[in-house]
């Protein structure tokens, strides 16, 4: 057996603890969570509501902070970065896909996709090329000028995916990307994520309640009461 790139942990969580506090109430989510994910993996995270799936993604995205433990991504300690550094890190290395798309209604589809590129110092021409390329990938070329408010849920989610990959991140975090879609649209979106993983080498972590969605992934993590209860490896 050779050591492939997938075996070197790209993401490593060690002893991560997280407790939400509101007033005197304490809601422990994780107590010493460990996790290791290789580069280029497609992970599905499943589990009952309230088990901490979104909290996990928030920690990985650096928009929430753990109480203790280390979070390492691509050799960088996310938990030791300040807020500005985490923002810059997100802009550079991460794409995020939301359940409810979270597109801005006053912008066209193409402008929504272009948004993350405003943070980069690249010319308008290069920006437009990149936008057109990713709209091509998600099968929406020619619809760039349309307002997302006039699109179907499946189309909106594809705009959301285009926005997530336009800055060419290595890691995609998806929180129930098909949770609001009908079966057909969901399958299209899942096929697209599979393509991004296989052909473009994106590491994908996808939270989902849908077993068919999980079937697209290479590995499924089951989260319950703040711990991974089993670790299925789908053999290739």
């Amino acid at each position: 057996m050779t050591i492939s790139e997938k075996d070197i942990p790209f993401i490593a969580l060690n002893g991560v603890s997280k407790t939400y506090r509101s007033g005197s109430e304490r809601l422990p989510i994780f107590a010493g969570l460990d996790l290791s994910i290789g580069k280029g993996e497609f992970i599905a995270v499943m589990g009952p509501s309230g088990s901490g799936k979104s909290t996990l993604l928030n920690l990985l995205a650096g928009i929430d902070q753990a109480d203790s433990g280390s979070i390492q991504i691509g050799g960088q300690r996310l938990d030791q970065m300040g807020e500005a550094a985490r923002s810059a890190w997100r802009a550079q290395h991460m794409g995020i896909v939301f359940q409810f798309y979270n597109l801005l209604p006053m912008l066209t589809a193409a402008e929504n996709v272009e948004l993350p590129l405003l943070l980069k110092s690249i010319s308008g021409r290069v920006r437009r090329e990149r936008v057109s390329k990713v709209l091509d990938i998600v099968g929406l070329n020619g619809r760039g000028r349309q307002s997302p408010t006039k699109m179907s849920g499946g189309q909106q989610q594809r705009v959301g995916i285009a926005r997530a990959i336009v800055a060419d991140p290595t890691l995609l975090l998806c929180d129930e990307p098909t949770g609001d879609l009908d079966r057909k649209s969901a399958d299209q979106v899942l096929a697209m994520l599979g393509f991004l993983n296989r052909e473009l080498g994106k590491t994908i972590i996808m939270v989902t309640h849908d077993p068919e969605a999980a079937a697209q992934a290479g590995r499924t993590l089951h989260l319950d009461k703040g711990v991974f209860v089993e670790d299925e490896q789908v053999m290739a």
Partner: protein, 380 residues
């Protein structure tokens, strides 16, 4: 799309709300532009000199002083030149066409006020060539359509000649232009000797003495010395700089100005509250969106800039409309209304537009910046 385009689109997301905000900003700056233009146009003190002194009867304006004071004032150390001034107000042709005539000693006038009024030795020589010759200020000459060589008859309101008539005939010897555009040249300069000799009453009295201190002698030091000279005489004096005099003269108007300033100030505060309130509400609707931007990697300063830019956009567009309309109104109204929107007023207005835009945007921007990022990921 650039960052600024994005800010513009965000600002215009609710067209009606943006339009109403822009209109109220435009209205406020229209009012401001008109008031500031009115104040700038009517303020004569800007060009008035701090150096020239006027000696008047302490009992009040209009009360005469004896001509005999002239030699005593002239003899005072520190006084360079002094001219008697007497005034005559009347109408030319139409009774409502009011003009003011100031009469002095031509040579002394040249020495005292020559630089300020733009008098030249040749103008003074022309003035002296006959006793009924006068010089007319450019602004008045332009308004009346007078030119050198014209004759005019001023029907005085009060000053009678010894033959009982109140008609004073003058001939224009020349036009004086004033030091610069803001100098008041809306009057006629005549000769004291002529008016003094010809009038029926008040012979050998003056309305004021105009004097210039010697170089190195401060006007504010000289003034009390002059007043001390006549403190115990029948007609004590009050000596003021030209600027003080004009300020006192305009003080009634200054009260009006204060009221206007107050009203404009109140409307500014109201506008600010409306805009800030509207923007804070607009932002509350957008907390989610700002969270999304933050998850995309927008940093706090960029969010701050975005919201500030939106407020500035509303103020710049609205303010520009208000200023342009004010300017158009100032061009359309007759000059006599004294509405002048020049470079100074415009620059001051632009500075105010930017300042208020900044102030109005800052509070919402700070609150947007502090929006917890988790708000975006939590389901709505």
């Amino acid at each position: 799309m650039t960052f600024w385009n994005f800010a513009r689109k965000s600002a215009l997301r609710k067209p009606l709300r943006s339009a109403l905000l822009i209109v109220s900003v435009a209205m406020t700056f229209l009012i401001y532009g008109l008031t500031a233009g009115f104040v700038a146009g009517s303020q004569g003190t800007a060009a008035a000199s701090d150096e020239l002194l006027g000696v008047m009867n302490a009992a009040g304006r209009g009360q005469p002083l004896p001509m005999a004071y002239l030699s005593r004032i002239a003899a005072l150390p520190g006084v360079a030149d002094v001219s008697p001034i007497t005034r005559l107000r009347g109408s030319v042709g139409d009774a409502r066409n009011v003009v003011a005539v100031s009469a002095g000693d031509p040579d002394k006038l040249l020495a005292v006020s020559g630089a300020d009024l733009g008098l030249t030795p040749s103008l003074i020589d022309a003035l002296k060539s006959r006793r009924d010759k006068v010089l007319v200020g450019q602004s008045l000459a332009q308004a009346q359509g007078w030119k050198t060589g014209d004759s005019l008859t001023v029907t005085a309101f009060r000053t009678k000649k010894d033959d009982g008539s109140r008609d004073w005939r003058f001939e224009i010897a020349g036009i004086f232009e004033g030091k610069n555009a803001s100098t008041d040249t809306h009057f006629i300069l005549a000769q004291y000797e002529y008016i003094n000799k010809a009038r029926a009453r008040g012979i050998d009295t003056v309305w004021a003495f105009a004097l210039r201190p010697e170089p190195g002698m401060a006007a504010q030091d000289l003034a009390p010395q002059i007043d001390a000279l006549f403190a115990n005489s029948a007609a004590p004096t009050r000596t003021m700089s030209e600027k003080q005099f004009l300020s006192a003269f305009l003080s009634q108007y200054a009260d009006v100005k204060r009221v206007i300033t107050l009203v404009v100030g109140v409307s500014f505060v109201t506008l600010l509250m409306i805009v800030i309130n509207t923007m804070v509400f607009a932002l509350r609707e957008r907390r989610f969106e700002i969270g999304v931007l933050k998850t995309l990697g927008f940093r706090s300063p960029q969010i701050l800039l975005l919201v500030l830019a939106e407020a500035l956009f509303v103020f710049v567009v609205g303010g520009a409309i208000g200023l342009v309309v004010a300017k158009l109104i100032s061009l359309a109204t007759p000059p006599a209304l004294g509405l002048v929107i020049g470079a100074q007023v415009s620059l001051r207005t632009i500075a105010l537009i930017l300042l208020l835009g900044f102030v109005a945007g800052l509070l919402p921007a700070l609150s947007a910046m502090r929006t917890p990022i988790l708000a975006a990921f939590r389901t709505r």
